[in-house]
Symmetry: C2
Subunit: 126 residues, 2 copies
DNA sequence: CAGTATCCGCGGAGATACTG
DNA sequence: CAGTATCTCCGCGGATACTG
């Protein structure tokens, strides 16, 4: 939590926001998780495993992960071309923390859904 | 990582996606972090500390966190009214994992920015 | 003070067509 | 195969005005 002298949170430098800005998108974390499980994968393999990601978004996601040094892209100039993606050391260093969050989700997400259900029920009753 | 029999990730039940869907929004994590540091806060105190959140989004964020049982809302029917928010046990249980991610960010975000800078430079050169 | 109600703009994301 | 290039849509989130 980073505060200014006026007591306000300084959003720009706030580490939480930086992490969320980087990984809060729809696909980055999922791709990292996938590569952490499967090792080295081709573009089409990632697309097929995720299933409901568009070609465009997979390209955008992989390019941004590559640009940030979280994954490594290896291009083989064959015909037809082959491209393989794998996690970098930097990317791998994030995986345990993702798994922490994931296991928290597995443990508590049902309770959250139940809470939400009850809350909505209470609202509708007045 | 949850897969179907066809080898595809089952997005709907995937714990990672559930967590991201819940906490990937702009303000939830930030509010939880804030409450974990400050304990009990009034609506206006949260608004002023964050600084650049709109009244609407703070209302929406607090209401959704309350509905999911992550925070507790206490209303005092005074004039003018007073409302205090604090973390629930469920909300508190998430805090350590957020801090894990945050410290990872503090450790590696500069490297990521540097990687991105170099990547863009390389692209512009050809 | 702590919200609602309403309108609106922007950008993330999908669909489709095309290419080295 | 692994992408680009466009067009488009949707909904998150901001701005503003109002209220118990």
């Amino acid at each position: 939590m980073v505060k200014n002298s006026d007591g306000k949170i300084w959003i720009g430098d706030c580490p939480i926001r930086q992490v969320l800005d980087r990984f809060g998108d729809k696909w980055s974390i999922l791709v990292i998780e996938l590569l952490s499980h499967e090792g080295k994968l081709r573009f089409s393999e990632i697309a097929q495993t995720i299933g409901d990601i568009s070609q465009k978004m997979l390209t955008v996601t992989l390019r941004s992960l590559e640009s940030d040094g979280l994954i490594i892209r290896q291009f083989f100039p064959e015909i037809p071309p082959r491209v393989e993606y794998e996690l970098s050391d930097l990317g791998r260093s994030l995986v345990p923390h993702i798994q922490q969050l994931t296991s928290w989700g597995q443990e508590h997400m049902e309770a959250i859904k139940e809470n939400r259900r009850r809350f909505e029920e209470k609202q509708s009753k007045g």
